[in-house]
């Protein structure tokens, strides 16, 4: 496994209407690592993913992608953005067929061999047989699987997952978790997964970070975080208690 750092944020601060969400936060993820970010609702987990993806500009701090500092401008480092993907809790289906939705990121890049790449990506999430259907007619589980295929078809180096299995049934959760593990192994990608599901974090992540009060309180191997956390706030959170 290559342990090179794929992405890192240093001293990231972000506030909305004078309400501070992230304060001097630093985080990194390496190739082949699946980092779960856990924490109570409203602590800025989604905000952090959007900043890492270039959708939001931090008030201060720097984001590095493969050692290159991202420039937040009009197109926010298009080259770097084209090597990462963000999968949200409620993916938006473009008004096209399932096939064209998955082909969309490849067409943006004038990619070759679209036919094979799209059919491979759909095969991995068991959606090849509905590829002609309009994406807007899919069930929530199918839609999330399509969104996963769409986010990985161009083989991003960094995959950002924001509550990607929330409200799904066990079958779809299983398909998606298998797909994430396959992608991580096959592509040696770096994955950051924000989740409220502690069982999921324990099940598939290699490292876990606890985000609270706008900062990463603790980051370690997942077993360590769940069995012997060093900070008592982390301990309280993984035990299902209120954190202060």
């Amino acid at each position: 496994m290559n342990s090179g750092i794929a992405m890192r944020g240093e001293g990231v601060c972000k506030s909305f209407d004078n309400d501070s969400v992230l304060e001097d936060l630093s985080i990194s993820v390496s190739k082949g690592e699946l980092l779960a970010i856990i924490g109570p609702s409203g602590v800025g987990k989604t905000t952090l993913l959007k900043i890492l993806n270039g959708l939001l500009e931090p008030d201060s701090g720097k984001i590095y992608f493969m050692d290159k500092c991202l420039e937040f401008g009009n197109d926010c480092d298009l080259e770097a953005r084209r090597r990462m993907a963000l999968l949200s809790q409620k993916p938006y289906p473009l008004m096209k067929s399932v096939w064209d939705n998955v082909a969309y990121p490849l067409r943006l890049r004038d990619n070759d061999d679209i036919e094979k790449k799209v059919s491979d990506a759909l095969e991995h999430v068991s959606l090849l047989d509905v590829s002609d259907r309009k994406a807007t007619t899919l069930s929530s589980g199918e839609l999330q699987r399509m969104a996963f295929a769409r986010a990985t078809v161009f083989e991003p180096d960094v995959l950002l997952l924001d509550e990607f299995t929330a409200h799904l049934d066990p079958y779809n959760i299983g398909v998606l978790e298998d797909a994430v593990e396959w992608y991580l192994e096959e592509k040696n990608a770096a994955v950051i997964m924000v989740t409220h599901n502690l069982f999921q974090a324990e099940r598939i992540s290699s490292t876990t970070a606890f985000l609270f009060d706008g900062q990463i309180i603790e980051k370690d191997r997942t077993e360590k975080i769940f069995e012997e956390p060093e900070d008592e706030r982390t301990q309280s959170f993984v035990n299902g208690e209120m954190v202060f």
């Binding site: 963000l86 949200s88 096209k96 943006l108």
Partner: protein
């Protein structure tokens, strides 16, 4: 009589399609920018645009008339009582409608479609194109409503066109004339032709609405 009908019908189509197309060429990009962008004064522009939906055609006709009349700023162009003047008058009426409705359609899908496009690697131009494509049902509806306003318009075109036979007479102004003459059957027939023209254009636009752009 048949050649009269053919002439007014073709001129109606030419004037209203030209006015809708020319107005939309400016209104759709402007509505897209206004729907996507965040800038100072956006709310003021939005309110003014919505207010102009109710712009009285006779006032639009009067303004264009004054601008194109011999004493007006554009008098030297000799456009008064020509189809070009009628196109200009209809453009004034169509432009705010297409701009405002495009802006609303874009705003509805903008956040989700823009974020999706950007997270999948779209540049600014590709993002705008994607958002526009996602809002196509609303945008083409905006153009349809604009065309409806243009083809049914009578007050402005009668002022700037003058309802001159073989020159600036269109279906709506011909209906007014025939009604005044008491030729109600002829006027009703022209009305039926007017509705058929509108139906034909809406049918063509509907096909684009369903198809979208491949990207």
């Amino acid at each position: 009589m048949a050649s009269d009908i053919l002439h007014v019908t073709l001129l109606s189509i030419f004037v209203s399609v030209s006015a809708t197309l020319l107005a939309s060429l400016m209104a759709v990009p402007l509505g897209t920018i206004m729907g996507l962008g965040k800038f100072r004064g956006k709310e003021v522009i939005r309110t003014v645009t919505y207010t102009l939906y109710g712009f009285p055609p006779v006032v639009a006709g009067l303004i264009i008339y004054l601008m194109l009349s011999r004493e007006g700023p554009l008098g030297s162009l000799n456009l008064l009582f020509t189809p070009t003047a009628m196109i200009l008058a209809q453009m004034v009426l169509v432009f705010p409608i297409v701009t405002g409705l495009t802006m609303s359609s874009i705003s509805e899908v903008a956040k989700d479609a823009k974020e999706t496009a950007m997270t999948l690697g779209a540049d600014r131009w590709q993002t705008a194109k994607t958002v526009l494509n996602e809002a196509r049902v609303g945008v083409i509806s905006a153009i349809m409503v604009g065309f409806g306003r243009a083809i049914a318009e009578v007050g402005a075109v009668i002022i700037v066109g003058g309802n001159i036979r073989w020159h600036t007479r269109v279906l709506t102004t011909a209906i007014v004339l025939e009604t005044r003459r008491g030729n109600f059957e002829y006027a009703l027939m022209l009305g039926a032709i007017l509705l058929s023209v509108a139906l034909l254009v809406f049918f063509v636009l509907k096909r684009y609405q369903d198809k979208g752009v491949k990207m």
